[in-house]
């Protein structure tokens, strides 16, 4: 089977078979990243453009590293240093980039649906690297990859996603991804951070973290996005940390060999305690290295399509 699509825009549009295919394609690239010479010639002569309209360090670095390890040429394009400040639209910017014969455009944008609308207008493959509060599909894929690597399976696992689910594209991609692969999903957070009607997606909703803990195999902690929301969603940081922070005691309470994940960057002492973040159960740094492998696999698959 091969991936018969030009773009990767969301997890919700992928079939479980396509997800499996991408996860399998990522596997050999882990070995490449462990080599002394971390480079293979698969995308030699191709051009990858990182088009980031929102600040991002780790995602853009991860994409850049992935493309470089595949031998592609990489251009990083961010609005501060470009003509966007001069009033050019997203589409005009992208058409300019396309005229430079870009094969893959990696787009991050603050508007939901930006990647999809771009994909309709350019011939290049478009990878959504986060659009507004909509999706962040490569994060969803790398989370699946990490869970599968550590737990050996996805189906039948119980996964809790904790924090500001309403304003998290990571959460949305993770929920779609996990449900498609047969996992049970519990979302945990104060009612101000849980979107209305989210249970219609097929998840269980908890406002009490402790009640969601028993039997949970994986906990994905979301970052408290202080810069995005101010402090209006909860009374104080201290209260948030007490009610929704992950500490050793809560890890104990799951009664399982818990896997702890976090998309980063972590706020130590807020959503996750020092001991848990540095414990052997935390796969936070594995997520980072797996992210490069997953993005390599994805770009390899997309670049093979005529």
């Amino acid at each position: 089977m091969s991936l018969k699509r030009k773009d990767l825009l969301s997890i919700s549009s992928l079939s479980p078979e396509e997800i499996d295919l991408i996860l399998e394609a990522a596997e050999p690239f882990k070995e490449v990243s462990g080599r002394e010479i971390k480079k293979v010639p698969a995308l030699r002569g191709k051009t990858v453009v990182n088009l980031f309209f929102e600040p991002s360090t780790r995602t853009s670095t991860s994409f850049e590293l992935a493309a470089k390890r595949l031998s592609a040429d990489v251009i990083n394009f961010s609005p501060g240093s470009s003509s966007v400040v001069k009033g050019e639209t997203l589409l005009d910017t992208a058409r300019n980039i396309e005229s430079m014969q870009a094969d893959i455009i990696v787009l991050r944008h603050s508007s939901s649906g930006a990647a999809e609308s771009l994909a309709r207008h350019v011939r290049s493959s478009v990878i959504n690297a986060g659009d507004g509060w909509h999706e962040h599909p490569t994060q969803g894929l790398l989370d699946l990859f990490t869970i599968k690597e550590k737990k050996g399976r996805l189906s039948g696992l119980s996964v809790a996603i904790v924090g500001d689910v309403a304003h998290s594209r990571v959460a949305r991609s993770d929920i779609h991804a996990l449900l498609k692969m047969g996992a049970e999903v519990r979302v945990v957070g104060p009612p101000t951070m849980i979107p209305a009607f989210i249970e219609r997606m097929g998840v269980k909703v908890f406002s009490n973290f402790d009640a969601a803990l028993p039997g949970v195999d994986v906990i994905i902690m979301l970052r408290l996005q202080l810069e995005r929301q101010g402090r209006s969603l909860f009374p104080s940081m201290r209260e948030y940390a007490t009610l929704y922070g992950l500490n050793s005691e809560r890890v104990q309470r799951t009664g399982t060999d818990l896997l702890v994940m976090h998309p980063g960057p972590i706020n130590r002492g807020v959503e996750i305690s020092h001991e848990v973040a540095d414990s052997s159960q935390a796969a936070i740094l594995d997520q980072v290295s797996n992210g490069v492998a997953v993005r390599m696999g994805l770009m390899y698959l997309l670049s093979q399509l005529q």
């Binding site: 596997e27 070995e31 480079k39 293979v40 696999g297 390899y300 093979q304």
Partner: protein, 192 residues
């Protein structure tokens, strides 16, 4: 190589399991003789069929020299020269070479030598892993029609073929009984 789909085309037998065993035994002896023992020697099988063949050679060499030579598995997909020119993405598998190949004599092992493009890709792949002292090539079948200046050091059997014939090596490890057959224009697509 995977088994054939739909109606199997006409098979002309070329080698049975016994002949295959003898050819591999001779190759193993030649490897040991040419390299004056097994010091600094390593075997690397090219996925898929080269891997079980390399394992068999390792076993025969163990019987001759009482030494296990290091064995690796190489996937050449990312080094192919026809990437992006095919309708389907070739299936990626993992390269598994856990030892340092620098300064070793590496014997590449594959089932069929045809255009030589697979071997070119394999050599590029090996070079990215280190600097071997020497690369040698062992194949079960050499069917001619080279498109690159490549020659095997050890050959199980030379078989004259026409370009549109298809040579298939079936191995027990891959779910068949051991044999080599010629198939009439059965659509050789896997390994150019």
């Amino acid at each position: 190589m995977s088994s054939i789909e739909n109606q199997p085309p006409e098979e002309t037998p070329i080698m049975d399991g016994h002949e295959m065993g003898r050819a591999l035994t001779r190759i193993a002896h030649e490897i040991v003789e040419r390299n004056k023992g097994v010091k600094n020697l390593a075997l690397v099988g090219i996925r898929t069929a080269g891997v079980p063949l390399a394992k068999r050679l390792q076993k025969i060499i163990r019987n001759i020299e009482q030494v296990d030579v290091p064995l690796g598995e190489l996937d050449i997909t990312l080094y192919r020269d026809d990437l992006g020119l095919r309708k389907n993405q070739p299936v990626l598998k993992r390269t598994d070479i856990t030892f340092h190949i620098s300064d070793l004599i590496v014997v590449l092992v594959d089932d069929v030598l045809f255009s030589g493009r697979t071997i070119r890709a394999a050599m590029d792949g090996l070079m990215d892993l280190g600097r071997p002292a020497e690369i040698q090539l062992a194949v079960l079948i050499d069917r001619g029609h080279r498109q690159l200046p490549i020659r095997a050091n050890y050959v199980g059997k030379n078989i004259p073929t026409s370009r549109d014939e298809n040579i298939r090596v079936f191995l027990e490890e891959l779910g068949d009984h051991d044999r080599v057959c010629k198939l009439e224009s059965g659509g050789q697509v896997d390994q150019p």
